[in-house]
């Protein structure tokens, strides 16, 4: 089990607007995604399209999460 902190941007702010601690069964991003889907079923269509990042880079899908990591959930982007 690991605990990470996740902060929202964009559309995800409609579902939680402050950094949130979340405990997951293993270090896989897929597990984090499933946990978020379970917690916010109405955001399913967005969560499926999101990626996770830290302060400086977008995580690769296969990258393992570390205990205590501070992460961000990034919905589809629309800059410019």
């Amino acid at each position: 089990m690991i605990t990470v902190t996740i902060s929202p941007f964009g559309h995800m702010r409609e579902f939680f607007n402050e950094p949130m601690k979340i405990t997951i069964a293993d270090q896989n991003q897929a597990t984090l995604r499933k946990t978020l889907l379970k917690q916010f079923p109405d955001a399913g269509h967005i969560i499926e399209l999101c990626v996770f990042s830290d302060e400086k880079r977008i995580l690769c899908e296969q990258e393992k999460l570390e205990e205590g990591a501070k992460l961000f959930i990034l919905p589809p982007v629309c800059g410019g």
């Binding site: 941007f9 964009g10 990626v51 990034l74 919905p75 800059g79």
Partner: protein, 147 residues
């Protein structure tokens, strides 16, 4: 990052972009300036708010600028700025300004950079409509771009 300036801030300045990209060796300067328009998909827009992952956005804009220099030459001067927070109609949302010795490099790099920003920068836009409603604008998933 030589000859590159990237920033995320509330008020953007065209004058600052021009000053940064001017140079005695640069005979061409191309720009894209994005403004907040008063309509989107048939709905009258009153203003909008940009939500930005600032540290990541600065890193990604920097990489986009470096890639442009790789493609069109290290001599390119590149200024990229994106607005954050609330903007009313006519507000400047984004500035891409590129200068080079000759026009082709600046024009091509400028057009390429704004497309990269649209699809890769961690920026989200919430529109305020004239009827009082608000909506996050649909965007482009980053997921398919990293797998």
């Amino acid at each position: 990052m030589d000859n590159i300036k990237v920033s995320i801030k509330e008020q953007l300045s065209i004058e600052e972009a021009i000053a940064f990209t001017q140079g005695a060796q640069h005979g061409a300067q191309a720009s894209f300036i994005g403004y907040v328009r008063n309509h989107n998909e048939g709905k009258p827009v009153d203003g909008l708010t940009y939500d930005i992952h600032q540290s990541l956005a600065e890193a990604i804009l920097g990489k986009i600028a470096q890639k442009a220099q790789e493609k069109w030459g290290r001599g390119l001067k590149i200024y990229l700025a994106h607005a954050t927070g609330y903007l009313s109609i006519g507000g400047i949302a984004v500035i891409v300004m590129v200068s080079s010795a000759h026009r082709a490099e600046s024009l091509q790099a400028c057009a390429w950079i704004i497309e990269e920003i649209k699809f890769k920068a961690p920026v989200w836009k919430k529109e305020d409509y004239m009827d009082g409603q608000q909506e996050w604008t649909k965007g482009h998933s980053l997921r398919k771009r990293i797998t």
